[in-house]
């Protein structure tokens, strides 16, 4: 197993004349928590969708978990988990039914599903909500459940697109504990966020402005480089230069 899990060279996505993602290159190492920052409309989600095999790049190349993102999208999907910006579990199914559905799709056997589900529910303190319809759960719980389901098949990489948007501080804290736990288990985390305190938790951070990666390093070194007190300041220094509006 190589040490580089995600590797991207000159990746570009154009919609007509508009380059949503403009020649970005970076590598992500195994077990890292990789923060993928950028203002709204900077191209984070578009880049992430290309890495997940949801969208074809216009040009450039890359591999995720050893598979080519231009040709082997379906193989990539076996090895990754994805949690979209928008809550996208089935609201009209129960917690258990959602877990069972995705576990089944990823090919877990019935017995594996049962043991994995029990383990996840216990860790989330969700055992009592097993038969609750997902639609009636509070947002923070839904997000934790989404994360649990995105990692149900123990993927090599998990892509999280603004997982803590609209979530209260306590749940956010718990959410990040789950992220750390997964990373300790060897799962690589690729996460976008608008919360700069969360950026500080990442092993490395990239900041996208207008479709390009403007900065990429550990939070400590970025702060040093931009002579900033916090990641917040680093972000604002870079994002101020953006041409694109929201």
């Amino acid at each position: 197993m190589s040490d580089i899990v995600i590797s991207v060279q000159e990746l570009t996505k154009c919609f007509g004349d508009f380059a949503a993602v403009d020649h970005i290159s970076f590598d992500v190492r195994r077990g890292e928590i990789f923060g993928f920052l950028g203002a709204n409309g900077a191209g984070k989600t578009t880049a992430m969708r290309m890495l997940c095999g949801l969208s074809y790049p216009t040009s450039g190349s890359g591999t995720v978990a050893g598979f080519d993102i231009t040709k082997e999208g379906e193989q990539i999907k076996r090895h990754i988990g994805y949690m979209s910006q928008r809550f996208s579990l089935y609201n009209d199914l129960t917690v258990w039914e959602n877990i069972n559905l995705f576990a089944g799709i990823y090919g877990l056997s019935k017995a594996d599903t049962e043991s994995r589900a029990t383990e996840l529910l216990e860790r989330l303190n969700f055992t009592s909500e097993r038969n609750t319809l997902v639609g009636s759960l509070p947002l923070g719980w839904k997000q934790k459940l989404s994360f649990a389901i995105a990692t149900i098949h123990r993927p090599e990489v998990v892509f999280l697109d603004e997982p803590t948007g609209g979530v209260d501080p306590i749940t956010r804290r718990q959410f990040w504990e789950m992220i750390y736990e997964a990373a300790d288990g060897g799962t690589t985390i690729f996460v976008t966020t608008h919360y700069m305190d969360e950026a500080e938790y990442c092993s490395r951070v990239s900041i996208m402005v207008d479709g390009k990666v403007c900065a990429l390093d550990t939070p400590a070194r970025l702060k040093q480089q931009f002579a900033a007190e916090s990641m917040d300041e680093v972000f604002r220094t870079l994002a101020r230069g953006a041409q694109r509006g929201e």
């Binding site: 949801l54 379906e74 979209s84 809550f87 995705f102 019935k110």
Partner: protein
Amino acid sequence: MRGFIVLLQKEFLQIRRNPFLPKLIIAFPIMIMLIMPLIMTMDVRNVNVAVVDLDRSTTSRRIVSHIEASEYLSLVGTTSEYSVAMEGLEQGDIDVIVQIPDDFERDMAVASPQKISIIANAVNATKGSMGTQYIVQTIARSLMEIRGERSPNEQSELITVQNRFNPTLNYRHYMIPALMIILFILICGFLPALSIVGEKESGTIEQINVTPVSRLTFTLAKLIPYWIIGMFVLTVAMIVARLVYGLTPVGSIGVIYFGAMLFILTISGLSLTIANFSETMQQTMFVMFFFVMIFMLMSGLLTPIDSMPDWAQKFTIILPPRYFIEILRSVYLKGTTLAELWSNFAALGVFAFVFNILAAITYKKQA
């Protein structure tokens, strides 16, 4: 395989939990089958007739009484003035005027009489032409009777008519198979499309697209529930047809179910294909309606294909309901067998295959 099973379970759970769908699936076929056959009738009844009787003879009175006795015609009145009757026709109170000329009876005995004239309001073309036909038949029957009485040796019946397979010319028996097809188009045509587009709108399809599930598996899991629902709808419709209208298939029920299986696959496959190209519910509904209108009006469900213009008849070759309505009507009314209908089944089979492959291919997991 387990991926397919869990997806199928999910579809059934979603249909069952939907606050509206289960009720619709049960109530819709029953309502359509109970009400529509009563309304969708091409029988022309209550044709209002006025007789302008200038003859005032036994013959003319006999004609009037025959008109009065007809179950399709209703006599508004007799008059001796044409202008009075014409006024009624213009005002819409009268559909057909029959004018019996002066000395009709006398002339009939000696020489060729003046002709009886029939004037119809043909704004409603069907009612005008059917009304005229009824009157011609009624008068012909009266005259034949009279002639028969005068010279009893002569053969008075010249024509006999026999309506095979639907002996009473019951329009309902002709319409019920068409209604069944309309039910399939509405339920198995719209629901799968709405289910896919619903997932697009709620964003859940993205979570599916990021999993390794194959396009065919996902498409089949969407298809099969509606296939089963279609079979259920057919069963309900057949029970209502039997209990309420006394219509049972002369031919094999198995052939009907086999045809329905292929037809539902076809229509659901089309529905899924349309959904793959649509982003919103409105878009799906409008595109589906476009096809549904063509299916309903051009496949011979309501009007015979044989009376369409030549180019339209050729066009019906690509309309799947055309093949199924032939199957359904001939099995229901004539008892035609599978072997005799093989070309219709083959056509439906091809459509089912093509549309479902198309549905699987046009479903894009990666854009």
